[in-house]
C-alpha cells in the first residue's frame, strides 16, 4: 500500500515544530508501524536528510518506550496495542496518517516524536514501592495472598509506563499511571503498612510535576495499551480522601 504521512518535526526542546508530509510507497501489511517508519528513515538517511526521531526498544509492547499519537489516538487505532505492536494491516492503501508526539506540559518534547517522561519516575520515587531492604524477607509462602488479590495486583502492575494515559487525557493528568501503581501495591498485604503516606506523597508528586487534575473523562482507560481499568482511579480517590481526613 502507499501512504501519506504527516509527521511532527521539531529540532530540539522549545523549538518551533511543524507537521511535514512524507510519502511512503510499497508498505507491506505485515510490517509493524515502526518498521514502516524504519523504511522511511532509511530512505531519509540515504538522501542525507535528518531521520525522524522516535523512541522504541523492546518492540514487543512491554517496555513502554514507544509512543506517538496517530491520527489523534495515542498508539493508534487498535485497542490494547502499543505502536510497536500495531501492524500495517490496520491501515489501507491511500491513507493519510498524522503522527505527533505525546502532548503534555509534564512531558516536554526532546526532538520530533521523542518526549521526556522522567516525571513518571519521580512520582514512583515518592512512594511507588514497598520499603523492604534486601535480606529482610520472610519465606515467600509465609504471606498467603488470595488469588483474586494477586490477580488484581497483577492487572494493575501490568502498566508499562508509556504515558498514553497522559497523552489521551484532556487535562494531561497522570492519574491512571499513579492509580495503577497504588492499586498494585494496595491489593497485596505487603503494601498496607505504608498505604496512607504512599497515596499522599504520590498524588502530591503528580501535582508538582505539572500533570493536570483528573475530571473523569476516562480517555486514559480507552487509550491504555494494557487495558488498565479506571476503577483503580476511583480506589485511589477514596484512599486519598481517607488519608487527607486522618
Amino acid at each position: 500500500m502507499n501512504l501519506r504521512l504527516h509527521i511532527w518535526r521539531q529540532k530540539e526542546p522549545g523549538a518551533q515544530g511543524m507537521l511535514k508530509a512524507y510519502d511512503v510507497a510499497d508498505v507491506s501489511e505485515h510490517m509493524s508501524f515502526l518498521e514502516m517508519l524504519d523504511v522511511l528513515n532509511e530512505r531519509l538517511l540515504e538522501n542525507g536528510e535528518d531521520p525522524v526521531a522516535f523512541e522504541h526498544d523492546c518492540r514487543e509492547g512491554i517496555c513502554g518506550t514507544c509512543g506517538m499519537v496517530i491520527n489523534g489516538r495515542p498508539h493508534g487505532p487498535e485497542p490494547k496495542t502499543t505502536v510497536c505492536q500495531l501492524h500495517m494491516r490496520s491501515f489501507h492503501d491511500g491513507d493519510s496518517i498524522t503522527i505527533e508526539p505525546w502532548r503534555a506540559s509534564a512531558f516536554p518534547v526532546v526532538k520530533d516524536l521523542v518526549v521526556d517522561r522522567s516525571a513518571f519516575d519521580r512520582i514512583v520515587q515518592k512512594g511507588g514501592y514497598i520499603s523492604v531492604n534486601t535480606g529482610n524477607a520472610p519465606d515467600g509462602n509465609a504471606i498467603p495472598v488470595p488469588k483474586v488479590n494477586a490477580d488484581l495486583a497483577m492487572d494493575a502492575a501490568s502498566c508499562i509506563g508509556c504515558g498514553a494515559c497522559v497523552a489521551a487525557c484532556p487535562n494531561a493528568s497522570a492519574m491512571l499511571f499513579t492509580a495503577a501503581k497504588i492499586g498494585h501495591l494496595h491489593a497485596l498485604p505487603q503494601g498496607h503498612a505504608e498505604k496512607g503516606a504512599r497515596v499522599y506523597n504520590m498524588v502530591l508528586a503528580m501535582d508538582d510535576e505539572g500533570f493536570g487534575a483528573c475530571t473523569n473523562h476516562l480517555e486514559c482507560e480507552a487509550a491504555c495499551p494494557k487495558g488498565i481499568s479506571s476503577l483503580f482511579i476511583a480506589k485511589l480517590n477514596t484512599e486519598f480522601v481517607i488519608t487527607s481526613l486522618l
Binding site: H30, E46, C58, G61, D121, V132, T134, A137, A150, L185
Partner: protein, 639 residues
C-alpha cells in the same frame, strides 16, 4: 603471555563454600561505607538490584542507563518465569537438583561452585521479590504457583502471567527508586557508557555520553559494576530489545578485561518466523508454551496442506519421537537444532519452509479453552497481533531465533573481572550457564548477582583496597579516555559515505547467522574471518551519519554500537573456530554423533576460553580449566 586463570573459588565442600567465603570476606564499617563510591552501569535486573542493595547498605551509588528510565531495560521483556529450588511442589526438587540441572543443561562448561551458589540463593530471591510486592501467580489457597520449563523434570518456575521479567524488574526498579528518592543513588538516564577508566590494572570509573546533548564526560568511583546485558544483537535479528549492544563489555575488553566464551550463544526454539526483509526484530513465544503445545511438522516433504487437514498419522512430533523422556520440553539447544534439521530436510512449514507447528489443539480439547487462555492469554494475543492468525484455531508457526548470550566478560567467584574493581553481573558475565542456559535461569542469575552476591563481594574488595580515585594518574587517564570517545564520534560523523548504520548491521547479522549461528563449521567460520574485516573496512569508508554529535542523534548512537559489533564479531568467530567440539549452543558440524547429537570433547576442551585484547594482533587466549569434583561429566542425554 598465556596464563592459566583461576576462578579463585574458595576451598571447602561445595555446599559450604559460599557460607565460608561470606564469613571470610572483609567488611566495610557501616560509617565508612559512604566514603566509597560505586558506579553501576545498567539498570536491568542485575543493575537495579545491585544499585538498590548497595545503596541500602550505605555506599554512594551512581546508576547509569541509556534508556530514558531504568524500568525500560531489556529484562522487562522476559516472559516465562524464574527458577528457584523451593520445592513447594514437593516433587523432589532441591538445591542439588537445580544445581545439577543447570550444570548439565550448560553441557558441563560452567564453574561448579558458582552454579551451586546460584541454586543456594535462588530461594532468597523469591522471598525478596514477594516482600517487594511482585505479584507472582498464586493458587486458590493463596500460595505461590509453579510451572515447568525445559531441561527439568520438576516444577520450579515462578511466574507472573507471561510478564515475569516485567514484574521482577519493576520490583527492582521500585527498590532502586526508593533509594533515588532518599538521595542515596544518583540516577543518570539517557547516558551511554563509552569506555572504562583503567589505571594500573584497576578500574576507576567510566566515560559516558549524554544521548540528548552529546556531551562526553568521565565519572570516577572506587568500583565499577557492568550490568550491561548480552550481545545477541550482533546477529541483528534477535529477540533482544533493539538497543541491546556489546559496547560496554567490548570497551572493557579493549581496556584489558578478558572476554570469555564469546561463541556460546543461545538460539531459542520458539520464536515467530521472519516475515520479510524489513524485519527489525524477532519475537519470542515463551518456552512455557511447550508445557502444553506439541511441536510437529508433516512427515512428507513439501506437504503444503493446511495443518488442520493433515491427519494425525501423517504428522511427525519429532521432539516426542526423538527425546521421549523430555519430549516437547527438551532443552533449547536441542529443540532448536531439531527444528533446523526438519526444515533443512524440506519439511518446514510456512513461507520459505522456515517454520514448525506449535499446536495447542490437544491441550484445548483436554483442558478447555478457558484454562489455556488463563495460562497463555497474553502470548496468544501477541501472536495474533503480529501474524494476524488465531492460535486457538490454527497451530502457531515458530522458528528458532538468537536469544541469549552465555559468553561474556570473564569473572572470578567474586564476580570481579581480571581488572581489579571491575565487576560484571547478569547476562554481561559468562559465569553460570556454560554452553547453554536453561529457561528461567537468567532472571535468577541476574537477581542472585545483584541482591545476594555482589553486596558481599564488593564490600570485601573495597575493605581490602580502600578508596583511591582522586590521583593525578586517574585524572589523566580519564581525560585521555574522554578524548578517545570524542574522537570515535568525530570519526563516525566525518566519513560521509553512502550506507546507513542499519544496512551494515543487517549485513553483519547475516554473516553471523549463516556462519556462526545454529550450526558452524571450519569453512564457514574461516570465510567469516575474511568477510567481517572487509565489511568493517567498508563501514569506516562508506558510512553515512547525518546531523551532529551535539544533539539527540539516533543514527549516531546506532553507528557507534555497530562499530563495536563489527570488531566483536570477529572475536566470536575466532572463539567458535578454536573450539573443536560441539557443546550446548555451540554446534560444530564436524563434531557430532551418528544420530546428529552434539559431541563434546572433554579431554581437550573442559575449559573456559578467555580472550585478551592484543592491539592489532590476534587476541590471546587464556584458559581456566574447569574442575568437576562433585558431578560426573556425563553425555547429556534427554532421550
Amino acid at each position: 603471555m598465556i596464563m592459566e586463570l583461576s576462578g579463585r573459588t574458595p576451598l571447602g565442600s561445595l555446599t559450604d563454600k559460599w557460607e565460608k567465603h561470606k564469613n571470610e570476606l572483609k567488611l566495610v564499617n557501616p560509617s565508612n561505607k559512604r566514603k566509597f563510591s560505586v558506579i553501576v552501569v545498567g539498570t536491568g535486573l542485575a543493575g537495579s538490584s545491585a544499585a538498590a542493595t548497595l545503596a541500602e547498605l550505605g555506599y554512594n551509588v551512581t546508576a547509569i542507563t541509556y534508556n530514558d528510565s531504568p524500568r525500560r531495560a531489556h529484562s522487562i521483556a522476559a516472559q516465562g518465569g524464574i527458577n528457584a529450588a523451593k520445592n513447594y511442589q514437593n516433587d523432589g526438587d532441591s538445591v542439588w537438583r537445580l544445581f545439577y540441572d543447570t550444570i548439565k543443561g550448560g553441557d558441563f562448561r560452567a564453574r561448579e561452585a558458582n552454579v551451586y551458589r546460584l541454586a543456594q540463593v535462588s530461594g532468597n530471591i523469591i522471598d525478596q521479590c514477594v516482600a517487594q510486592g511482585v505479584p507472582f501467580a498464586r493458587e486458590y489457597g493463596g500460595y505461590l504457583a509453579n510451572r515447568s520449563f525445559g531441561g527439568a523434570q520438576v516444577s520450579r518456575t515462578f511466574y507472573a502471567r507471561g510478564q515475569t521479567g516485567q514484574q521482577l524488574l519493576l520490583g527492582a526498579y521500585q527498590a532502586l527508586s526508593r533509594q533515588v528518592g532518599l538521595g542515596k543513588v544518583n540516577l543518570l538516564t539517557k547516558k551511554e557508557m563509552m569506555d572504562v577508566v583503567v589505571v594500573d590494572g584497576r578500574a576507576h570509573g567510566v566515560v559516558i555520553r549524554d544521548l540528548v546533548d552529546g556531551k562526553i564526560e568521565s565519572l570516577t568511583a572506587d568500583a565499577v559494576l557492568l550490568c550491561t546485558g548480552g550481545y545477541s544483537n550482533v546477529f541483528y535479528l534477535s529477540t533482544n530489545a533493539k538497543a541491546c549492544n556489546v559496547t560496554a563489555a567490548y570497551r572493557a575488553y579493549k581496556r584489558g578485561a578478558l572476554f570469555a566464551n564469546p561463541c556460546f550463544t543461545q538460539i531459542h526454539p520458539t520464536c515467530i518466523p521472519v516475515s520479510g526483509d524489513y524485519q527489525s526484530k524477532l519475537t519470542l513465544m515463551s518456552e512455557s508454551l511447550r508445557n502444553d503445545g506439541r511441536i510437529w511438522v508433516p512427515k512428507e516433504r513439501g506437504d503444503t496442506r493446511l495443518p488442520n487437514l493433515i491427519p494425525e498419522i501423517e504428522r511427525d512430533y519429532y521432539l516426542e519421537r526423538k527425546y521421549p523422556s523430555f519430549g516437547n520440553l527438551s532443552p533449547r539447544d536441542i529443540a532448536s537444532r531439531a527444528a533446523k534439521e526438519v526444515c533443512d530436510d524440506g519439511r518446514g512449514v510456512g513461507p520459505g519452509g522456515k517454520g514448525v507447528y506449535l499446536d495447542f489443539a490437544d491441550a484445548i480439547s483436554r483442558l478447555g479453552r478457558k484454562v489455556i487462555e488463563d495460562r497463555y492469554g497474553n502470548l496468544f494475543e501477541m501472536y495474533q497481533r503480529i501474524t494476524g492468525e488465531d492460535p486457538y484455531s490454527v497451530p502457531m508457526r515458530i522458528y528458532p531465533a538468537v536469544h541469549y548470550t552465555m559468553g561474556g566478560l570473564w569473572v572470578d567467584y567474586n564476580l570481579m573481572s581480571n581488572v581489579n574493581g571491575l565487576f560484571v553481573l547478569g547476562e554481561a558475565n559468562f559465569s553460570d550457564h556454560g554452553a547453554n542456559r536453561l529457561g528461567a535461569s537468567a532472571l535468577m542469575q541476574g537477581l542472585a548477582d545483584g541482591y545476594f552476591i555482589i553486596p558481599y563481594t564488593v564490600g570485601g574488595y573495597l575493605a581490602s583496597t580502600g578508596p583511591g580515585t582522586h590521583t593525578e594518574a586517574v585524572r589523566n587517564k580519564a581525560a585521555e579516555a574522554v578524548q578517545h570517545s570524542e574522537e570515535k564520534i568525530t570519526r563516525l560523523l566525518a566519513i560521509n559515505g553512502k550506507r546507513t548504520p542499519t544496512s551494515f548491521h543487517r549485513e553483519l547479522g547475516k554473516i553471523m547467522w549463516d556462519k556462526c549461528g545454529m550450526a558452524r563449521n571450519e569453512q564457514g567460520l574461516q570465510s567469516a574471518l575474511v568477510e567481517i574485516p572487509q565489511l568493517r573496512d567498508e563501514f569506516w569508508n562508506n558510512l553515512r551519519v547525518p546531523g551532529t554529535g551535539e544533539e539527540l542523534n539516533q543514527s549516531l548512537e546506532h553507528a557507534s554500537r555497530v562499530a563495536d559489533f563489527l570488531e566483536f564479531a570477529e572475536l566470536m568467530v575466532r572463539d567458535a573456530l578454536h573450539r573443536k567440539e560441539s557443546c550446548g549452543g555451540h554446534f560444530r558440524e564436524e563434531f557430532q554423533t551418528e544420530d546428529g547429537e552434539a559431541k563434546r570433547n572433554d579431554n581437550d576442551f573442559t575449559y573456559v576460553a578467555a580472550w585478551e585484547y592484543n592491539g592489532n594482533n590476534a587476541p590471546l587466549m587464556h584458559k581456566e580449566h574447569l574442575h568437576f569434583e562433585n558431578v560426573e561429566l556425563a553425555t547429556r542425554s534427554y532421550k
